[in-house]
């Protein structure tokens, strides 16, 4: 495609703006985590570190259970993703393809799940989990995260399914394939990129969740990364260096994961149909 000079200039300007908007805060955080304390709180901050120290990281790993939090977060996020997909794919297909009474109303009701402040359910859920012995256990977090990711996931998957050309499915129906086989053999492979994006959506929802994880988990050994991170803030003093190191370490794993599968996520989103 040929673009005019003006359009190109605008493009460069917009890209530069967003690189600064997204990149600069991250640069400040990561570079700050290697500065000595005096430089971090200096009245005239430095763009490029004038000092270098690993003391914040040393403190972080010596004294806190960061690796444990990390593993917990990975377990919770991965399980949430799998469970979300297991529930969402069949439901989305039924809503998309099968005709049954109450379909329209049910579909709409599912989206209404986002229509109430999530903290409303915090207390009743705590009571419920207490009854079934799930307080202070990671499955409780998985359940909560799936509940929050599920409605949007069903909705997204349904629109991905709608993007599959009709002819392909019709051909299979003509061949007399049972519905479930069509779903498994034809539809799922066709919307695989879409499934990947929904999976990442569920993963990120679980990965970043804080309020529920902070209340439902009581013991240190079961904390997730966001809660563990907030724990190093401290009531009376703020150790900015430690916090910046903590922030960096909290960012790195998901950046790494994203580096591996991020491309799939984006291509999934852009190739599937969202209507």
């Amino acid at each position: 495609m040929n673009r005019s000079l003006g359009l190109n200039a605008a493009l460069v300007a917009v890209v530069a703006f967003f690189v600064v908007l997204v990149g600069l805060p991250f640069w400040w955080v990561v570079s700050g985590s290697f500065k000595i304390p005096q430089e971090i709180i200096a009245r005239s901050p430095t763009m490029i570190p004038q000092s270098f120290t690993l003391q914040h990281y040393q403190k972080l790993f010596e004294a806190s259970d960061y690796p444990v939090y990390l593993v917990n977060s990975l377990i919770v996020a991965a399980s949430s993703t799998v469970l979300t997909l297991l529930l969402a794919i069949p439901a989305a297909y039924a809503f998309f393809r099968l005709v049954f009474p109450g379909r329209g109303i049910l579909y709409r009701t599912i989206l209404l799940a986002y229509a109430f402040p999530s903290i409303v359910v915090l207390i009743p859920l705590f009571g419920l989990f207490a009854k079934v012995g799930l307080v202070d256990r990671l499955p409780a977090l998985v359940i909560v995260n799936v509940a929050f990711a599920l409605p949007f996931s069903i909705w997204m998957l349904r629109s991905f399914l709608a993007g599959v050309p009709k002819e392909i499915e019709e051909a299979a129906v003509m061949d007399g394939a049972p519905t479930l086989t069509i779903l498994r053999r034809i539809m799922i492979p066709l919307i695989a990129p879409g499934i990947a994006s929904v999976g990442i959506y569920a993963f990120v929802t679980a990965w970043t969740e804080y309020v529920f994880a902070s209340v439902l988990i009581l013991s240190d050994a079961k904390r997730t990364l966001p809660v563990g991170f907030s724990g190093i803030i401290g009531q009376y003093q703020i150790d900015w260096g430690l916090l910046l190191a903590g922030a960096t370490v909290a960012i790195v794993p998901v950046v790494a994961i994203f580096a591996l599968i991020g491309r799939g996520f984006v291509s999934g989103l852009t190739e599937g149909a969202v209507k």
Binding site: L7, F18, A94, P101, L106, A115, F116, I251
Partner: protein, 290 residues
Amino acid sequence: MQQTRALAFVLVAPALLFLAATLGWPLVQAVQLSLQDVRVIGAPGAFVGLDNYSRVLSNPSFWNAAWLSVVWVVANAVLQTVLALAVALVLNEKFPGVRVARTWVILTWIVPTVVVVVIWRWLFSTSGGMINPLLIQAGIVERPVGFFATPWTAMATLVFINSWRWFPFIALMMLAGLTRIPDDLYEAARIDGANAWQRFRRITWPLLAPTLGVLAVIGTLLSFNVFDIIWLLTSGGPAGGSRTLPVLIYETAFKGYRLSEAATVSVLATLLLMAFAVVATRALDRGDDR
């Protein structure tokens, strides 16, 4: 037909039952709680009918919070749409590095909220924060600014931070809509001599509108419920200037220890959102039928 119904039931039931147990049932409990006078979790409460409702509805701080919630939602919607649309339009172009950009634009969305909060709290602070010195150097302000010092600036700053976290996700959803606009439409327009703005106005915008509509509905619901960013940064202050409904609910339940009253505010907020969702989806459906 009978078989299809049974199959549909089998496919949909697990998801529905799951949502009913985790969200539906607690919501019923919240309604129940709103009709009692429980103060602290675990304490007994007597049935008081609609007392809590009349108290909440006559309380100016409820209406103030409702108003701030509207401001919050609208401001977020506007800022996120502008940022996201700009990003989506750019990423829909072809230029060197666009694939990398498409992947990494998402960076701010995958960072845990708590971390986002700490990052910005530090950057905006006057001791060690980067923003103030930058603004002073650029000659925009003379003295350090307190970003959370007045209700108005606190709200604006919060909107900025929340949008900073969410715009990439919205942008990618928009990009998904954009990539499905066939290239030949643009080619045809170009041959007709339409300029960039006309192409945007006549092709991109109308074809993107349905996607934007759905995103607006879901985005509104999601951003209405944002709680952690506001609570962790300003706790609803200063002077109640950022106390939206979710903040009010949390404050009433866990600071004021009026659990039933908090449940009442929640139920009212839910009704408000449901009304919005129903009206909005109707409007979208009508748009679809055309």
